[in-house]
Symmetry: C4
Subunit: 220 residues, 4 copies
């Protein structure tokens, strides 16, 4: 064990495989979502096809919301492993639990896409979706707290940065909790909420400023 | 060949690709399982949808059991490659055999999910499932024994740790062997057994202690 | 942050995960395309089977065009990350946007394969396909411009090489824009255009010269 | 370009991404094959289920043959990249062509599985399958020859090893060529031939000797 600590390659290797498996699951889960977008079967004119595609808006909505959410969870996961100095088997297991939830997400996504327009059952679909997001963020947050507790983070990590990361994970947790409750009463508001969180996470203000600057000046 | 030994990058590269392909197959196999969870087609009320989702419990059970088992096999695979110093083509081939079994697992998972509730045929499904798990662990164990035999492990590896790993792989082997036999007589007991092994592997006692400690004290 | 700059492993790690997730999504998207090639169901003779397979030419066309286009986008992505020195969260997010578009591509591919032979609706399918390619290249181009603007590229990068890369991304953008417009009037010409761009990107003149040289001389 | 040569990280990075994308495509293609194994729908007794599963033997055969062949191609790919010192865009493109063929393989696999038992059309299916394998090995072989020609291999590579690798790729090429021709006359012999090549590639004599040694002696 003492020998272990000396060899940097041995210490970081389990982290590399944790990252590789995670990136694989994130990539597959994110890409499988497209399989649920079905091509309209029998459209004989342009109007019909456009109308049939437009009718599938819940599918596209679910696709974008879930993709963005998985993307945001990946950003959080990324920030965490960036601070990891070594990995013990508990963190590998906790990570598997995170991946179980990520890989499960395509199912509630399909559920919402199929039921969001059917009043009477949309509440069930939206609640299951929200709970999956909530638990995913909760387990990711637990993974980070465990890493801190078990002193698995780099000794040179900035205390400020570390507490900042904890704070960044918490509002997601709070936001999803509120939206799950809201969804019990007004499901569509919760879906819009998940969409707005997703948009906010995917399109940072930083970038908008950059694009605006480029558009006003011809060449940077 | 002697030159080969001098260059550390050349020596470890085949291990890195072995790990990359394996992590890819593990990630895809683990994530494909979700495709077998189908969204109930025509639920007109909340009750109907909840009932339809609840009716699919064998699907969720199969999902969690198989995910956890693949996860546990990944932990074992991880522990093995952690000790590897170099890879020969035999170990690359043995590893392909492990991956063949891992990638096959979604099929018996679907079989169990479809037949576990149908008395008369559930024994066949459960036995095929169990045999797949048993052979997977057996081949993984063979891979480890071969690595030891062919002296592919790091020279600085602790003898104690090495024999510990061999021991960790063996009870899985024994447990699956017993459950396959039990499944021939009482299939449902074997399924519960696979589930308990999976739960035990995924949720370590270590973590439970940590969560309990966190809950009793407000801040760590 | 200043400490950050000192540690090269910390600086390059986010790039490595960006690359890993991207390679995963590229690999899955590229491979999922094959799922849309269906095996003809009831061919009783060789002639029937050959005819049925030949009838599916739009599927193979879509497969090759989309595979090549994703491949070309990967080449561009590759060239960009090759110059990256560090990654900020904006570039990670922009990259997620690129991946969203890549992972979406199998859907318009199916759309084109299903509708390219049905006059009346093929224009809609081809336009959606072209817009997806156009936006993908535009976002990839934006990512590169942002990386330049935010000074995320290696300080030792050759100015000439850098401006060459910007130029290499631009004609793709222009070509797709022209083809989207052309597709509004003559859809089949746009499809052939996407195919030619794809062929050009996949089979470089360089290689043709090499093969020709090999064929004229018996042994190199 | 001269600067380029100095920085080892820059030189090897494109190879790493080439490997990462390839491992991803190999992993996904290999794992997607399982989706074609369908669970028998309505088996009411053990006998029925066993019979229904046994009836699907062409599916399992196709699964094992294709998995092993992809695995063998991965071994060859692995051996090639092991010698690569740097990557130019031609080799990246040639590699994409290899991946196009690998990712396509699930389609002819399904074709063979569906038609191998239907006399009258099995010849078409088997020939398409064989041609895909043949072209895959041919392109992989071309990639290796190009790497030699363009001097992309490590300067310290052993000449003997290099010519050995070329030889290892050639018999595969010859074997598949013979089997494609044989398949035009006796399709089932070609399938058995592909199966035997696959078995030979996956289960090395080396390992059999090791297992036999273990069985004769109780403990190594």
């Amino acid at each position: 064990m003492s020998e272990h600590a000396q060899d940097p390659r041995r210490r970081t290797r389990p982290i590399q495989r944790l990252e590789a498996l995670s990136d694989g699951v994130f990539a597959v889960a994110i890409t499988l979502l497209v399989l649920d977008l079905t091509v309209p079967a029998t459209a004989h004119s342009e109007r019909h096809l456009l109308a049939a595609i437009a009718d599938q808006w819940p599918g596209y909505l679910g696709y974008v919301v879930s993709f963005s959410t998985v993307g945001a969870l990946w950003l959080g996961h990324n920030a965490i492993t960036d601070y990891l100095d070594r990995a013990d088997t508990t963190i590998l297991r906790l990570n598997l639990l995170v991946l179980l939830l990520i890989s499960f997400l395509p199912f509630p996504t399909r559920l919402v896409a199929d039921y969001v327009t059917k009043s009477g059952a949309e509440r069930v679909a939206v609640t299951i979706y929200g709970l999956t997001l909530l638990i995913s963020v909760a387990v990711l947050s637990l993974l980070w707290r465990y890493a801190l507790h078990a002193q698995l983070i780099r000794p040179d990590a900035d205390d400020e940065e570390v507490s900042l990361l904890a704070k960044r994970l918490s509002p997601g947790l709070g936001g999803y909790l509120v939206l799950v409750v809201v969804g019990l009463f007004v499901p569509i508001v919760a879906v819009v909420g998940y969409f707005l969180i997703a948009l906010y996470l995917l399109i940072p203000l930083h970038l908008i400023r950059f694009v605006r600057a480029r558009l006003s000046r011809p060449r940077a």
